[in-house]
Symmetry: C2
Subunit: 340 residues, 2 copies
Amino acid sequence: MLKKKITLKQIARELEVSISTVSKALKNSEEISRDTKEKIQAFAKLYNYKPNNIAISLKNKRTKNIGVVIPDIVHHFFTTVVRGIENFANKQGYNVIVCLSDESFDKEVINMEMLANGSIDGFIMSLSAGTEKKSDFNHLLEVTEQGIPLVLFDRVTDEVACDKVVIDDVLGAYQATVKLINEGRKRIALLTTEDFFSVSRNRNRGYEKALKDFGIRHDENLVLKLPFMDIDEVRISQFLNAIEPDAILSVNEIFGVYGMRVVQRKGLKVPDDISIIGFTDGLLAKHANPSITSVAQHGQLMGETAAKMLIERVENEMEEAPFRTKILEPTLIERDSTIN
Amino acid sequence: MLKKKITLKQIARELEVSISTVSKALKNSEEISRDTKEKIQAFAKLYNYKPNNIAISLKNKRTKNIGVVIPDIVHHFFTTVVRGIENFANKQGYNVIVCLSDESFDKEVINMEMLANGSIDGFIMSLSAGTEKKSDFNHLLEVTEQGIPLVLFDRVTDEVACDKVVIDDVLGAYQATVKLINEGRKRIALLTTEDFFSVSRNRNRGYEKALKDFGIRHDENLVLKLPFMDIDEVRISQFLNAIEPDAILSVNEIFGVYGMRVVQRKGLKVPDDISIIGFTDGLLAKHANPSITSVAQHGQLMGETAAKMLIERVENEMEEAPFRTKILEPTLIERDSTIN
DNA sequence: TTGTACGCGTTATCAC
DNA sequence: GTGATAACGCGTACAA
């Protein structure tokens, strides 16, 4: 009962015409007579003929596939970006091949090499922690040197010339910090990660800038730099107990949630006694109790933008055009962990 | 400065040998002399030759791509499944093309058609809400009739003969309900969705079976069937206020979280006054306050299992082999929303 | 109006 | 040992 896909050749044989006649007839070419066209088209429809994507890719040197390499997919932010990419790309007839680097430099390299051998027309990616730490971008350079378009988002680097999409992390942290300062907070703790992350560096800068602009001394003791993504509740707890802040700014969602839990256990009221703001407007912040004021990174928009930039490059052969960096504006979503 | 990928033909021309000699040399064929092999291999290495995936796909009629069609990716469960698929598939040298049906029947059909024209070796998918509601599976049947392997997971249907991976939803709900009964709960509310979801139907059955087995009358008033995924806080609130349950079982994570919030607002203590268990062991359950006891669906394992089943079919031409349905055991993760 | 021939990049078979 | 040829499926310039 197996109805394998039919090919041009088979149609040609059945109908006793040449392959090219079939090909032309199916494209409704003027060259072919009404009769033959109708006959061929009817037959093709009957057998549900569809051109083979692979053959077309080989011929056109275009796969209509986009390679997306991200550190992790069990992560709300990346997930929304993927959705944005998928959304836009699909409308343009592109498929999305997702590869996970798992925050590992090696996996990132392997994945890119797999895809770079003809499987995709271009890359959209966000650097793995391993890559940022190692600061080795040769795999990216190789790809761009081969003429494969590349768009970096969120976790980017200056060392690779390509299109980029980021949010203004400095501004996001600045606005969040200002919000806390305007509430009258003086001891604003910063929960952040080690410095090798470009985004954390920028968020730290925004925090410092706000303090400076408002004449608040920047106290290094109020800053906790945690090892990457490792939720060390004990350290957060000790830190917060030691410094007794009246506000917490967290560079991600999870540190913020844990921070809030720690201070709540101490009996502090949020936001009466202490305010909390976190980056990444995800589910946790939204559904925490109280819900947490967050800096939205607009992942979906970022994904759509990246896909748009990439497809433009792919389709317009704009190898000459200068590289662009789109900077998206963060938005402070005010919820119940700060005072309105 | 563009270093385009080099092809066999170009190497052949440079080295003034034939294409087939190059091909054989690079495969270390015994036919070729040491000298030529070394020369060719050195040259290929220098220019970083890698075979073109598309050409190989065309020749082998194998793409080494797996198509994954899921309703939504901003959803912890699906996300973990994708990770599991990716994980296993990558190790076997497969790439994963992710398409989102967005819970829509039409998009599901379009996506499958796109991929079915040669882009992938097989499908892994979970039915969209639209498809379950419409109960139209022709697009799946077409694919299987073409001989393209298909593995369904989680949201499956009996109407399509193919490999499947599910968790034992009946058992999961049964165990959760028993847990609540053993705590002494009598009025166990069930927050569920409309019946067209296969998983919800099964979970409802498990709930009813437990009640029956333990001699508790099944009171329809304790069951709230909410329209699909639509978080109607007001309805949940009215419902819970009206029936005053001493326990809540929710078929997903989000209803559970909202349910907990509602009863907490009423001043009830969780788990002293009321216990809560939800399906899907996601971030929300884990980080809620108190953390919510959950039925883990083992998404990652499900993804790995599905990928394994699919790749077996693809590689072993086991068109004859009977279809299998793997049933995974759910696990009750006990947390602080129930009494230990 | 229809068909032939070639090319996309690779591999496998067979001839020399 | 090496190379020519055909094949995978399609599209198209060119020939008939």
